[in-house]
């Protein structure tokens, strides 16, 4: 083995290697570029209010993308989070009409825990492919929610003030949702890097057989993981209903595919074993800013979707190029 340190390394290569070692930097640069473009297109838009708004919308996406990040680290994916978030939001809004908010909260989190548990057992014990397992439970969940909706038509819905405050409120111009998000994000980052469970997520995704030989019980890790993912999704649902304030049967569904995109853009490998949550958060911000950018462009909806798709693809490809070139 030898390094090519003899001749001076060209500047381009050095920049590339620098970015490859710190994969967050290119992401942050991209985010800044997008914001600058936005500011050029509509001068003055980037102000305190806009930033607060962007953060407000990025947070639910970022939490769901956190679910995606963690499951992707193990080589899985959780497509049921949209349904779970929608269910807990819908149940909260309809139950709080007749129940104590605490009771409503518990009721709202129940399906989350249940779906997480079923996902975990399916993937961890029966070894069902996570894509199939979570698609299946999300189908079941959606069906249940729709049947449930038929039974509560008459009672109506209400958004608890606290959730509205958390979802939409600002304190000194800072979104209240950060009160929930900052500790949550810190917890996820800490879990991934400094706890045994976090280590196991990476290791299981890298080489499951090896973890087994080291005494790791796969089903335990996977079950815990999917329950955590589901609970996070449930919490997101509550936050999101506070933001949108209109309970519906597909509330968080549109966030599912972007949550996968945010995690991928943030550098988490869909094949497992590689990635982290910080990148994901920036990925979520990038997607949110991108959405605003496309709305401003005043182009037909079709053209916007085309651009969105192309940009997601381009960013992921470019990022892979940078990170893999070492």
């Amino acid at each position: 083995m030898s390094t090519t340190a003899i001749q001076p390394v060209p500047f381009g290569r050095r920049v590339k290697r620098f970015m490859a070692d710190r994969p967050l930097i290119p992401l942050i640069i991209l985010l800044i570029i997008l914001v600058v473009i936005l500011q050029i297109l509509r001068p003055g838009i980037v102000n305190e209010r806009w930033i607060a708004n962007t953060i407000k919308f990025a947070i639910p996406l970022a939490i769901l993308a956190g679910c995606q990040t963690m499951t992707m680290l193990t080589g899985g994916i959780d497509l049921s989070i949209g349904t779970v978030a929608t269910m807990s939001a819908f149940i909260m809004a309809t139950q709080v009409v007749n129940q104590d908010p605490a009771v409503a909260f518990l009721l709202a989190m129940m399906p989350a825990v249940l779906i997480g548990l079923v996902n975990g057992i399916g993937v961890g014990v029966f070894r069902v492919h996570p894509l199939i397992m979570t698609l299946g439970t999300s189908l079941i969940g959606t069906g249940c929610l729709q049947v449930y909706q038929r039974t509560v038509i008459a009672s109506g819905a209400r958004i608890p003030d606290f959730l509205a405050w958390l979802g939409t409120g600002l304190t000194y111009g800072v979104p209240n949702a950060l009160l929930l998000f900052v500790p949550l994000a810190a917890l996820i980052v800490f879990t991934l890097s400094r706890t045994g469970f976090g280590r196991l997520l990476y290791a299981v995704g890298d080489n499951e057989r090896a973890t087994r030989l080291s005494g790791v019980q796969y089903w335990q890790v996977i079950t815990a993981l999917y329950v955590i993912s589901s609970v996070l999704a449930g919490i997101t649902g509550l936050l999101y209903i506070g933001l949108i304030k209109a309970p519906s049967l597909s509330l968080a569904e549109p966030l599912v595919l972007p949550s996968v995109a945010a995690a991928v853009i943030g550098g988490t490998s869909i094949f497992g074993g590689r990635g982290g949550y910080t990148g994901t958060i920036i990925g979520a911000l990038i997607l949110t800013v991108l959405t605003t950018l496309l709305t401003i462009l005043q182009m037909p909806e079709g053209a916007r979707r085309i651009l969105f798709g192309l940009i997601v693809l381009f960013v992921t490809a470019a990022y892979l190029r940078i990170v893999e070139e070492r």
Binding site: M1, R194, Q217
Partner: protein, 524 residues
């Protein structure tokens, strides 16, 4: 042999990022020659084979085939040029049956069948799916598939490493005949016995560079080792263990005691004891139940009968964690099975610390670091590329798989062929380590496919044949011929000719080819 080279490669270089896998490799092969390609682990042998056969592109170099410059961009192009490889890993498509695999590569079926029979597998069903075929047989099929198209140059990358002796022997015969018929074979192996029995010349690689081409003559081994290792320690013989070392006071009860263990149809009735402070060897031909024995002891599969006792207590393992809790840790021969390749050395070593549910919480980073560092030091792991285990060399990866259990202070190691595909120097270190572990009162069960290792490491050797223990030797009697005979299920003391591996010293090409002619099987 003064004819023009069939294949002539010069100045071949290949970089993986900052790592130079090959820097300046050259290789020239004459018609009718069996040419050894030798080098320590990581010297670049496989890389060179892959380049020659179009599996990966080179960064530099010139390749002439029959004197013509050829640019081989894909395995298909190599095949057209008459170069056929058998890579280190099996290349049959796992989900296709053998027949479809042949169709995919446009391999004629009848010659293939003839070669398969020739290579010692009489009852192959070509409608079997590759996935269901044992690894050793797959390797042979790979070879037969290459032979069936009558390649000019056959490239065999550690073809015999995963083969039981009986199959390896057949392969060697066939390879030698390839050479006799005017074709060429490039033969990679870490086994000197095979090289000296088979090859005409050897090209030696070190650190991606060709450092010498030698004729194989008796006694050339020393020279090759010198070339391979360069300034590194030259062939350290493990000193025969002193009597004091061996004198382990027989403990009141064995550490591990296995009675009448059965696993499916593969392992029938195995019993033996393992004492504290002992290294017990296990010797067996491929597929005699040793895999199942280790898997059962490691908690990977459930035995169908018999008992396992640990420290006199009956133990039932339904998951490796149960075995680990009982102090039994399994080190597989294939490091890819044991390591999380994208994770760091530290995380890999510390993996067992987090396994149990109660250790899922915050990690005591400093404590962990101390344990890991001390294990790294004990095994002298080269940690220059410790960020990702996949960037370590093979030998160092192997050390990490052991370091994990040293750090966990495990009482009993179940090592399954831990020196498979590892160079001489690293092997010595692993032998030393195992003795040291035993010296600390721990015990080791050590399966090896290289018989000469038994006398270097073990106190005792357990021979398994057909899923049963056929003999238990004291190490003094466990020389290679004796072990070989026992491994074939022959009674101790019998003298029967069981092939060229029986006696490495009289395996000059002449005597080897005469033994080949007496073997059964028709030339296709």
């Amino acid at each position: 042999m003064t004819s023009n080279p069939l294949l002539d490669a010069t100045g071949v270089a290949k970089n993986y990022g900052a790592v130079a896998a090959l820097r300046n490799a050259s290789l020239s092969v004459l018609p009718g020659e069996v040419h050894a390609l030798m080098g320590a682990n990581g010297a670049g042998k496989s890389t060179l084979v892959k380049i020659l056969t179009g599996a990966i592109p080179a960064n530099a170099g010139r390749i002439l085939i029959r004197g013509e410059a050829r640019d081989i961009r894909s395995p298909a192009a190599a095949r057209r040029a008459g170069l056929l490889p058998v890579y280190q890993e099996p290349s049959l498509i796992p989900d296709l049956d053998v027949l479809s695999n042949l169709r995919l590569t446009s391999t004629p079926v009848e010659p293939f069948r003839a070669w398969v029979r020739e290579l010692g597998i009489p009852d192959l069903d070509i409608r079997d799916t590759a996935r269901d075929i044992p690894l050793a047989v797959l390797r042979v099929l790979d070879l037969a598939r290459a032979l069936a198209v009558e390649p000019d140059v056959l490239l065999l990358d550690e073809m015999t490493a995963a083969l039981p002796a009986n199959l390896a022997e057949k392969v060697l015969e066939v390879v030698r005949r390839q050479g006799d018929s005017g074709r060429a074979v490039i033969f990679i192996s870490h086994r000197f016995v095979e090289i000296s029995a088979l090859c005409d010349r050897a090209t030696v690689l070190r650190d991606g560079e060709t450092v010498g081409v030698v004729d194989i003559v008796p006694g050339v081994e020393e020279k090759i080792v010198e070339l391979m290792l360069g300034t590194r320690i030259v062939k350290t013989h493990v000193a025969a263990r002193s009597a004091a070392q061996k004198a382990v006071p027989a403990p009141a009860r064995p550490r591990l005691s296995v009675h009448n263990l059965r696993v499916g149809t593969k392992l029938n009735d195995v019993s033996f004891d393992l004492a504290d402070g002992e290294v017990a060897g296990v010797v067996a031909l491929e597929g005699q139940g040793q895999d199942e024995l280790f898997a059962a002891l490691a908690g990977s599969i459930r035995p169908s009968g018999g008992t396992i006792e640990v420290d006199g207590q009956p133990a039932k393992f339904s998951h490796p964690i149960d075995a680990i809790r009982a102090g039994l840790a399994y080190v597989p021969g294939d490091r890819a099975e044991a390591l999380a390749m994208q994770r760091s050395v530290r995380e890999n070593i510390a993996l067992p610390f987090s396994a149990a549910l109660r250790n899922w919480g915050p990690i005591a980073m400093r404590q962990e670091r101390a344990k890991v560092v001390s294990a790294i030091e004990r095994l002298q792991i080269d940690t220059r590329a410790q960020g990702e285990v996949q960037r370590l060399s093979g030998g160092n990866q192997q050390k990490v798989t052991i370091a994990r259990w040293v750090a966990a202070d495990t009482r009993t190691l179940l090592c399954f062929d831990p020196t498979r595909g590892i160079d001489v120097g690293t092997k010595q270190e692993i032998y030393k380590l195992l003795r040291e572990v035993a010296g600390h009162g721990k015990s080791v069960l050590f399966y090896t496919s290289e018989l000469e290792e038994v006398q270097r490491v073990c106190d005792r050797v357990i021979v398994i044949f057909g899923g049963r223990v056929v003999d238990i030797f004291p190490v003094e009697e466990a020389d290679e011929p004796a072990l070989m005979r026992a491994a074939y299920g022959l009674p101790r003391g019998a003298k029967a000719d069981i092939g060229i591996l029986a006696d490495p010293h009289c395996s000059s090409p002449e005597s080897a080819s005469s033994s080949a002619s007496t073997s059964p099987g028709a030339t296709p």
